[in-house]
């Protein structure tokens, strides 16, 4: 074995880094292409299977509502419990979800700067009251509309339905 070694080559094995480097370069290019900074800090709820759509509207800062099969969260804070994707019957009868309305009213006031009594203190980035709704693709319209209606009662009139782009 020693006989076939070139001059200056040591007996120690050397790592072949070139294939590894090639692989890393390909991974790097792929990741740069698919890299996309989170939209306005929006993080999709992992428990929600969003519907697919070809909509291309841009994100705007909004109050984030996620409807999973067992709970509704507002800005990741559990607010209302669901039973297999259904709200309590009393909510459907009254056509509103009182705890949600209450929480959204607080957010609405905060956005409008009413809470501190000074509109100049309203956050200019989020001064337009918008609700961003993440809902499972199998949710029925009755439940979706109940959430939208509760948002409307709290003062919100604009909504963004989160979708997974096709």
């Amino acid at each position: 074995m020693k006989g076939v070694m070139r001059k200056g080559e040591s007996e120690e094995g050397r790592l072949m880094l070139t294939p590894l480097l090639d692989m890393f370069t390909i991974i790097l290019i792929f990741l740069i292409v698919s890299f996309k900074a989170q939209d306005k800090g929006f993080e999709p709820n992992e428990m929600v299977d969003l519907p697919e759509s070809r909509a291309r509207s841009v994100f705007k800062p909004a109050v984030d509502i996620a409807i999973t099969s067992d709970e509704l969260t507002v800005e990741k804070e559990p607010t209302v419990e669901l039973d297999s994707g259904e709200f309590d019957d009393a909510h459907y009868d009254s056509e509103q979800i009182p705890p949600l309305v209450e929480k959204l009213e607080a957010y609405y006031k905060k956005i409008q700067g009413e809470e501190v009594g000074d509109e100049e203190l309203a956050d200019p980035e989020t001064d337009e009251p918008i609700l961003l709704v993440q809902a499972d693709r199998e949710l029925d319209y009755r439940s979706l509309y109940l959430v939208l209606r509760s948002g409307a009662l709290a003062g919100f009139t604009k909504y963004r339905l989160a979708i997974a782009k096709k």
Binding site: K7, G8, L17, T18, L20, L21, F24, T25, I27, L28, L31, I32, S34, F35, K36, A37, Q38, D39, F42, P44, L50, P51, E52, S53, R54, A55, R56, S57, V58, F59, L132, A135, D136, R137, E138, L139, D140, Y141, R142, L144, Y145, L148, R149, A152, L153, T157, K158, Y159, R160, L161, A162, I163, A164, K165
Partner: protein, 194 residues
């Protein structure tokens, strides 16, 4: 001395790739964290709001003719009707369509064609009010919105589809099933805009 230097100069020199590897090892986890494998988008919508119609009525004659599409989705059919303040009822009736739903298949292309026809006649139109039944699934609703909000008009040079707005403003309302002879009606928010 010279021979030794010459021999050393002739020997191939290996590039030191370790710093490059280190850089990659830092970059890859960072990009992995920020990579978006599912691209999220949004569909802008709203619920009906009450208009101060008395003051706006006076200016309505100056407004360009436009229609508002009303899409009622019942368990067995999709009904498309139109409303517009300056347009005769007969013309609106000509635009109206009704498609039965069979085996959960929704007539999305036919819906888009009907909306395109209305848009061609009244180019200023941009609003569709959607009134689905209670059990209507969210994914089906999004599919309908995709076809109502924009239409494919061709392909760009980069191979991506090109779309043009059709009825991009979406308003959700609730469909109240016909009760006796009262017929279908919509119930709006903030005071009951129809």
């Amino acid at each position: 001395m010279f021979e030794k230097w010459k021999r050393a100069a002739e020997e191939p020199v290996d590039l030191n790739l370790i710093p490059v590897m280190n850089l990659f090892m830092v970059l890859i986890p960072f990009l992995l964290l920020g990579a978006a494998f599912v691209h999220i988008g949004v569909i802008p919508t709203s619920t009906p709001t009450q208009k101060e119609s008395s003051s706006e009525k006076a200016d309505s004659d100056d407004e360009p003719d436009s229609v508002m599409a009303n899409l009622v989705v019942t368990p067995d059919a999709i009904e498309l009707t139109f409303s517009g303040s300056n347009i005769p009822e007969s013309k609106l009736d000509d635009l109206a369509e009704r498609w039965p739903i069979s085996e959960g298949e929704y007539p999305l292309e036919e819906l888009q064609t009907a909306l395109r026809r209305a848009k061609e006649q009244y180019p200023e139109s941009n609003t569709v009010t959607v009134l689905p039944h209670d059990d209507f699934q969210y994914q089906d609703l999004v599919d309908i919105l995709d076809h109502a909000r924009e239409q494919k008009v061709g392909e760009r040079a980069n191979g991506k589809d090109e779309f043009e707005p059709l009825f991009p403003v979406t308003v959700f309302s609730k469909f109240i099933p016909p009760d006796g002879e009262s017929g279908a009606e919509t119930r709006g928010e903030n005071g009951g805009d129809r």
